[in-house]
Amino acid sequence: MTDALFIDVEVDASVAQDRELAAKLTEVCPVDIFAQSDDGALEIVQENLDECVLCELCINAAPPGTVKVIKLYSGETLPAGAAVAGG
């Protein structure tokens, strides 16, 4: 193993432009994985991804199926059973 990345987050394109959701995700994440750019668009803070505590607050805050958390070390996704786009 030559890399040490543990977590990835996928946000469905259908909600990626939703500023209200961006604000919500920014607020709920306890480790600041989500942020908003100056114009309010959703941004993923790459350097905080591995701080993810698997709390699923982001998943619960978003419309079902639109936010997925991927455990890169096991291939599992949250919510359990969700398919990952692009494999």
Partner: protein, 424 residues
């Protein structure tokens, strides 16, 4: 945290207890000027945080300002117990008729402060207590009610002291008891407390120790004395490695990953928490291992912090592998620590499976943590493997099984040095 004598005496004076005319000097010239101002015989005292100053030649008497400057020059260059002095105290050489002792400490069993008084001052109070117990009086006092003068009077008179000595000593002891509480001291001692030929009482030397936990609320006093936040005042000065550990811990407010102490071994330790660290450090040594460091992780630190600590330990010269071990965790998360230490290895270009001798942290989120460890091929253990067994496995890996008996000589060296610095 310990105070230098010149600071201790300033604290005593601030509390209204008389001290001799004196000044703190960092150069022979300053010492000369202070001696001139005092105008008479003086004592030049090295300002170091270690005992045995007299024996080491760190206390000299001078009759003239020139002599004072000469002594100061030599004392300022004299290392005592591994410490260079911060300066010298130039002190009026008072005409002392009698020396008393006054001190306040905590009694952890009664959970109260206890004030001690002796009419045999100038020597170590423990020596007096052992050889002349009838010359030591002691009294516990309340932390809820203000300390009253009669309590000091009763204590002093119990040794048969009366007359003007009693009346002059009473406010001094009462003020000492009050300063002990108001400045959060763990030790407040005046020894000797001198009775001069003119009948006045002055603090001829003082020793103050403040509780570290109280530093935030004693900022004003510390600022007044010029004590910086970075001064730890431990038995020895922190090493650059230890200071780097503090920086790791300050990276964010989540949990603890620090409290690093440096040793000379080849096995880096990423261990926790308080009691677990103590147990594991002992265990590694009992197995003949040579720890490169002591440290503590706990309180659910971030991945970043665990990574920072592991990197620090991995980069320490002489470290061949690290052992990541904790007692069963309920708040700190196994998976978070696993991510941190693996990241540290990989980012430094190491194979985690090779560098991490063993990972033994059972408890919160262990299933998730074990998945990560398996993925990277790291040897890990759950709660069925004891702390000592985990330590044994780590030592065996690093020393190829011939560890037992090869007690760390370098460890001895380091600690012998520290021991000699604390002969208070």
């Amino acid at each position: 945290m310990r105070f230098f004598e010149y600071e201790s005496r300033a604290i005593v004076a601030k509390a209204g207890i008389p001290i001799t005319k004196q000044g703190f000097a960092k150069t022979p010239e300053e010492a000369r000027r202070i001696a001139e101002q005092i105008g008479g015989p003086v004592v030049i005292k090295s300002q170091v945080l270690s005992g045995g100053r007299m024996k080491a030649g760190g206390v000299k008497f001078a009759d003239t300002p020139d002599e004072a400057a000469g002594h100061a020059e030599r004392i300022l260059e004299l290392e005592i117990g591994g410490h260079m002095p911060r300066g010298v105290l130039v002190d009026d050489r008072a005409d002392v008729k009698h020396e008393y002792y006054a001190g306040v400490v905590w009694d952890g069993i009664r959970k109260l402060p206890v004030i001690l008084f002796s009419d045999m001052g100038g020597i170590d109070i423990e020596e007096v207590a052992e050889n002349h117990p009838d010359h030591v009086a002691r009294a516990h006092f309340s932390t809820l009610r203000p300390f009253s003068d009669w309590q000091a009077k009763q204590l002093i008179s119990s040794l048969g002291v009366t007359g003007s000595a009693l009346n002059r000593l009473t406010p001094i002891l009462a003020r000492l008891a009050r300063l002990f509480l108001s400045y959060d001291m763990t030790l407040a001692e005046i020894n000797p407390l001198g009775e001069l030929t003119d009948g006045a009482f002055v603090a001829l030397d003082a020793h103050m120790d403040m509780e570290n936990e109280a530093r935030p609320r004693q900022k004003e006093l510390l600022h007044e004395l010029g004590v910086g936040d970075e001064e730890t005042r431990q038995a020895r000065e922190p090493t650059p490695f230890e200071l780097a550990g503090e920086q790791v811990d300050a990276m964010d407010h989540r949990g603890v990953a620090g409290n690093v102490t440096e040793f000379d071994g080849n096995l880096g330790l990423v261990i926790g928490a308080g009691g677990g660290s103590l147990t594991l450090f002992d265990a590694v040594r009992a197995q003949g291992g040579k720890p490169a460091n002591y440290c503590e992780i706990g309180g659910n630190p971030s991945v970043r912090k665990a990574c920072g600590l592991a990197k620090l330990v991995l980069q320490k010269p002489g470290v061949e592998r690290i052992a990541v071990m904790m007692s069963i965790v309920s708040n700190t998360r196994v998976d978070i620590v696993a991510r941190g230490v693996i990241k540290a290895c990989v980012e430094l270009g190491h194979d985690p499976a090779e560098k991490i001798a063993i990972f033994r942290i059972p408890g919160a989120w262990e299933e998730e943590g074990f998945k990560i460890l398996e993925r990277y091929g790291i040897e890990y253990a759950d709660r069925s493997v004891s702390l000592h067994e985990a330590a044994r496995r780590a030592v065996e890996k690093i020393q190829g099984g011939n560890g037992a008996g090869a007690e760390g000589d370098q460890f001895r060296q380091t600690t012998a040095e520290i021991g000699s610095e604390t002969d208070v």
